[in-house]
Symmetry: C2
Subunit: 410 residues, 2 copies
Amino acid sequence: MASPTVLTANAFPTFPLPPKATTSPPTSSGPIQKAELDASKLTYTFTTNSSPIPDEVSAGCSDLTVVTDHIITATWDISTGWAAPELKPYGPLQLSPAASCLHYATECFEGLKVYRGYDGKLRMFRPEHNCARMRLSATRVSLPSFDPAELQKLVTTLIAVDCPRWLPKDRAGSFLYIRPTMIGTHAQLGVQAPKAAMLYIMLAFIPRLDSPAGGMRLLTSPQDTVRSWVGGFGYAKVGANYGPSLVAGQEAQREGFHQTLWLYGEGECTEAGGSNFFIVWRREDGKTEVLTAPLDDRIILDGVTRRSVIEVLRGGVAGDVEVAEGKYTIGELLQADKQGRILEAFVTGTAYFICPVSQIRHNAKDIHIPMGHEGKHGDITGRAKGWIYDIMYGRQEHPWGVAIPESQGL
Amino acid sequence: MASPTVLTANAFPTFPLPPKATTSPPTSSGPIQKAELDASKLTYTFTTNSSPIPDEVSAGCSDLTVVTDHIITATWDISTGWAAPELKPYGPLQLSPAASCLHYATECFEGLKVYRGYDGKLRMFRPEHNCARMRLSATRVSLPSFDPAELQKLVTTLIAVDCPRWLPKDRAGSFLYIRPTMIGTHAQLGVQAPKAAMLYIMLAFIPRLDSPAGGMRLLTSPQDTVRSWVGGFGYAKVGANYGPSLVAGQEAQREGFHQTLWLYGEGECTEAGGSNFFIVWRREDGKTEVLTAPLDDRIILDGVTRRSVIEVLRGGVAGDVEVAEGKYTIGELLQADKQGRILEAFVTGTAYFICPVSQIRHNAKDIHIPMGHEGKHGDITGRAKGWIYDIMYGRQEHPWGVAIPESQGL
C-alpha cells in the first residue's frame, strides 16, 4: 500500500454533534406549556361522497383493506404539543420521504373492534386497556405520550359518526376493526426521537378469523429466528415486532400452516403469530390446567383477550380448572401429547378473538389437539369464548362491554 | 357469574383464513414473468423549480433534512414485479393510512455518501456493499428482492443528475448523504408480507460527525434494554432496529453522552449508537490489538467502513498491529483501563465515518480513552482514517473509490 495521509487536527472541520439535551423530554411540560391531546377540540369535516356499504364477507376478504368514510388525525410537534384533532374524509397521507416512520420504525398501533349487539347497541370491549397500551407502545419508540382517555374519546367519536351506517342495526353479531396508529413524521434522517408525529384512527373490515375449518394449525418458529427477547420490545405493539416476523409466517403458510408458534430460549412457547397462545392440558397430578406464557419477562403482548380469558376462567366459567401464567416448552407439549394429556389449545387476540388450535408441528413431529363437536372449539375454549362473546354483543350486560351512543360528537 | 352462552358449532360463521399459499414467493418468477428492477428503464422528469444550493454547515444542521432537487422512485407489485423507475422532482409521498410500512415496519434503508474529490471527481466508496446489504435487509422484512447492481446504477444516475450543482467542484472535500429506502406500501391491515412496495433514493445534507470536540462519549446501554439478539435482525439495516433504540439514546444524551454503547449478554460490547465500535488496546501479552465485535452471531451490522478499517489495518497501514473480530466485554475494558492498556477507541459508519471515542461510562465508572494531538484521533485511528479519506476524496486511486461520470443518464 502507498503511504496514507495521516490526518492532522485541522483536516476535518468540526461540525457540532447534537448538543447535550437541555430541553425537557417530550412528555413533561417545559417553560412553554405544550398542548395535551384533547378530544374536546375535535373538528369535523364530513365527507360529501359516502362510499356504498359493502357486504361483510367480500369487504373482509378484500386484498386492499376496506375502510369507512372518515378518519381522525391529530398531529404533534415537540414545541407546541398536540394540535386539535380532526375528523375528516378518509384519504391518503402525505409524508415526507425523510419521515422518521419510514426509516426508523417510529410507529405503533392498536387493534380493537366495535361490535353491533343483538340488543341493537354498539359496543367496544375493554377499550381502556388498548388505549393505555397504545401509550406504552408509543413511548417505547420515543413517540409522544397522551392521556389514554382522550384516545378512547376519539375512537368513540369515530364510531359514533361512521357506524350507524357502516355497522347498521341489521348487522347484529357483526363488527368493524378499529386501528389507532401513531407514526413519527419528522423529516430528519438523523437517528433521533422524532420531533413531530401523527396519531390517526381508522375503521376497517377484517375477516372473521376465529373458526377456521378444522382449527388453526401452527408451525414452530425456525431454529434461527427469535421474535422477541428479554430486554427487547415484545410487550409493546410497535411495528418493529411485525415486519421481521413475516418471513417465518410466510414459511409456515408455504408449509400449509396458518401461523408461527414462536419459541424462546429452551423451546418456551410464547405467542402464535400475533396472538397469545393457551394450552389446556391434564397435568401429571391429574388436574386440568389452562396455561399461557407469563408477562414478567416482557417478551409477549399483554393481550386484552388474554387477560379476559384468564379472568373469566378464574371466575369459574368452565368449572374447576387451574389457570396459570407460566413458562412451558414445546418439549413438554410433545411429552404431554404422547401421554394423551393435551385437551385443547387456542389463541387469543382482537383479530382472531378466541380461535381453537388443532395442530402444532415442531421438528417434523406433530401434536394433534382435540377439537370439540363438529370440528369446532373444545368445551373450555367454548365456555370462555361464549362468555366474552355475550358481553361483546350485548347478550350479557357487563362493565367490560362499553356501549357507544350513536349521536355525533362527544 | 351468570351462566354463559356456550357457543355451538354454528354460532360463528366461518370466513376463510388466507388460503395456503399457492403462488410463488415474491423473489422467484411465477408462470407470469414478473419484471425485474431495471435501471435502464428509468424515466426522467426534471424539476422546473430548482432549489438554491445552501451552504453546507447550515444545511447539515437543519432541523429538517435538506435534500436535493430530485428523487428516484420505483414501485413493485407482487403480480407484475418492478415498474420502470422514475427520476422526478423531490416531493412528498402519498401513502394509504393502511400502508404496511406504517404499521408493521416493513421498511429498510441504506446510507452511503457521495464525495467531491480534490481531483474534481465525484466518487462513492464501495457502494456495491451497500447495495448488496440493501437486498439482504429488504428480504429480511419480506420486501421484494432486486439486483443490487441495478440499485447502484440508479444511485449513480441520481448523483450524476443532481451533484454537478448540489456538490459542485468548488466544494472539494465535501459530501452528500445518499439514502436508498424501501417501504411496504400495500394497504392491508392483515399481518402479512406486503404485496406492494416502493424503493426510493434521495440525496441529503447531513452534518460532519467524525470529529466532535473532545471526542465521542458513550454511555453503556441500560441494564433492561437489549438492542439486538441472536436470532433477531441486528445484522440488517431495517427500521425495526432503530425506533426501539431511541429511548436509550435520549437517555444517554440527557446524561451528556453522544451515543449508547450497546452491551449484550455478559456485557459484550457490540455497537455504539448506529455505528460499529472498535477498541485499540495493549493485550496482556504486550501486543497492540485493534478489536471489534464479530459478525458470526449476526447481532451487529456488517458495516462497510468497519470492513474497510479491518482491511486497511491488516494491510499494514498502521504498522504491526493485530486486528481481530472477537467478543470482549465492558468488564475487560474496565480492567484494561485500570492497567493503562487502552490506547484508542473509535466508531465507524457512513454517518460518523471514523470518529474517536474519548469516554465510556458504565455503572457510574468512567473509562477515559486517550485522544491524539490537539484533542483529535489517536495514531492508529488516524492512519486508517487518512487512508480511507484519501480514497474517498481522490487523493489515492483505488478500486474502493468508484468515480461517477457527471453526464446525465446511465
